[in-house]
């Protein structure tokens, strides 16, 4: 009896030690050190020889060894386990704890577990709300199966580890997304003869940095390309796809001067290499001679155009399907006037979309607002529209004023 009471007290004290580690670590930046410490103490508390964490990779199909105590080889060798296979893979697939009394090649996937001569194991899923983000597991080199109480301790540790991992991943995701966005979207587009350009990118309050982009370039043929686009989704995943779509569009722009053809090729590439991704884009090509522009819309909102001295209005066009929706969707190119003194504003939906009004009203308001004698003034006027209320989506804006001949 006395021994049992002592054991319980010791267990409680040990749990408090685990909690102390995680509480302190949640506010620290060094996730690796925190997980190492946490696994070390877990090993002690459960009288185990090894303790390790595998996290689900971004594809969601494989677990990757991420942190370990007594099982460092798994991390060093970058062991990966397909979800559904082996011990940890099955825990990830079922989102349920599992106890293994006898480790053999038939029930584990990682060769390191066999090399380490582990005999019994126990593991639990690491959860973010209801979604599995990884697996925490312990092992012993001697007989003595893990109990339901051990699993409860593991669950507690897993909760703490999940919380810290999630917080860290979000920080990393945000920092990486911002860095990517900054590298791809220069604050000031490179100057092009005959055009005054200004651009702005604003992260959304709800989605943060997302998949919006703008681009402006002069092609060897003398044509000028202007792009605005929006990859659905948010965070690093959307920004990475945006980066690939943006450079693919540039590559196809080099091959053809027809916007519809460029978007058709881009669409084909997205269908094949970015399945499930959806993007809208407006692509404008201004030929070196003449007073026109060619425009194709892939599910994108109409740009706002103002002729010299005339009021601004959305261009009268119909959008074709967004990119990534349907193979070989038909696409049209519109040819519209674009003489010296005319302005064009390309923007993404975050600028005009509000929950409490029809989108046409937002576009009409934008057209009323857009005025100015330079691209920067026009850009600032458009941004002002976003400033007066909470905007949840991210916003990209590209303002263009034609100042003269593009042949410069």
């Amino acid at each position: 009896m006395a021994a049992a009471v002592t054991a319980t007290r010791t267990a409680a004290a040990q749990l408090r030690r685990i909690q102390a580690v995680t509480d302190a670590a949640l506010s620290s930046l060094d996730l690796d050190a925190m997980l190492a410490e946490l696994l070390d103490r877990t090993r002690e508390v459960l009288d185990a020889d090894t303790a390790a964490i595998m996290l689900l990779d971004p594809s969601g199909t494989e677990l990757v060894a991420t942190a370990a105590a007594g099982l460092e080889d798994e991390v060093r060798l970058g062991i990966r386990v397909p979800v559904g296979e082996g011990f940890t893979g099955r825990i990830a697939a079922t989102a349920r704890p599992m106890i293994l009394d006898h480790v053999d090649p038939g029930n584990v996937f990682s060769p390191v577990l066999l090399d380490q001569h582990l005999i019994s194991m126990a593991g639990v899923p690491m959860l973010d709300q209801d979604e599995v983000i990884g697996v925490l597991y312990v092992g012993r080199r001697r007989q003595g199966t893990f109990t339901g109480e051990d699993v409860e301790v593991l669950r507690l540790v897993a909760d703490r580890a999940s919380l810290a991992t999630r917080a860290q991943l979000r920080r990393l995701d945000r920092a990486a997304t911002l860095a990517l966005q900054r590298s791809l979207l220069p604050a000031r587009p490179a100057p092009l003869p005959g055009l005054d350009l200004a651009a702005r990118y604003l992260p959304g309050q709800q989605v943060g940095v997302g998949g919006d982009w703008y681009d402006a370039f002069r092609l060897p043929s003398g044509h000028t390309g202007l792009v605005i686009g929006d990859v659905a989704g948010s965070g690093l995943a959307a920004a990475v796809i945006m980066g690939r779509i943006r450079s693919a569009l540039r590559a196809y722009a080099l091959e053809d001067d027809d916007p519809a053809e460029v978007l058709a090729r881009l669409d084909r590439k997205i269908q094949l290499f970015e399945p499930g991704a959806l993007a809208t884009a407006a692509y404008v090509v201004i030929p070196p001679a003449g007073d026109v522009m060619h425009l194709s819309l892939a599910g994108h909102l109409p740009p706002v155009y103002a002729g010299p001295g005339a009021p601004a209005r959305p261009v009268d066009t119909r959008p074709d399907l967004p990119l990534g929706v349907f193979p070989d969707a038909p696409r049209r190119t519109y040819t519209l006037p674009f003489p010296t003194g005319a302005t064009l504003l390309l923007y993404t939906d975050g600028l005009v979309e509000r929950r409490d009004r029809v989108i046409d009203d937002g576009i009409a308001e934008l057209a009323r607002t857009v005025a100015g004698s330079s691209a920067l003034e026009i850009c600032n006027a458009a941004v002002g529209l976003a400033g007066d209320q909470a905007v949840s989506d991210d916003i990209a804006i590209l303002a263009v004023l034609r100042t003269g001949s593009l042949l410069g």
Partner: protein
């Protein structure tokens, strides 16, 4: 912000998924799961948007992806009854006809 409500009705000839409220990034995962389940049932799927008051580009992506997945599974999927601001969003993103079944499905 109004939460998205999803009601699935397994009728004899079709599985009707009725949406109400606002569809955005926050409700994406739930809707994806509900539509995948409806397609799995094998009967034609009708997505009824009559109760939907707002949808952003995330919603467009979920609906167009579901239509494609349905096409690959050989299950007809049509999106119907969009009104007001939601109908305008479908129109202005060029997907209204595609989702309403006026396109060949493959």
């Amino acid at each position: 912000m109004t939460q998205l409500s999803i009601t699935t009705d397994h009728q004899a000839e079709a599985t009707v998924v009725a949406l109400a409220g606002e569809l955005d990034l926050g409700s994406r995962t739930r809707l994806q799961a509900a539509l995948a389940e409806a397609i799995e049932a094998g009967r034609p799927v009708v997505v009824d948007l009559s109760g939907l008051t707002f949808m952003d580009s995330t919603g467009i992506a979920v609906l167009t992806n579901a239509r494609r997945a349905a096409g690959e599974a050989g299950v007809p999927l049509t999106v119907t009854e969009a009104t007001g601001t939601v109908e305008r969003i479908l129109e202005m993103t060029g997907v209204r006809q595609f989702l309403s079944g006026e396109w060949p499905q493959r």
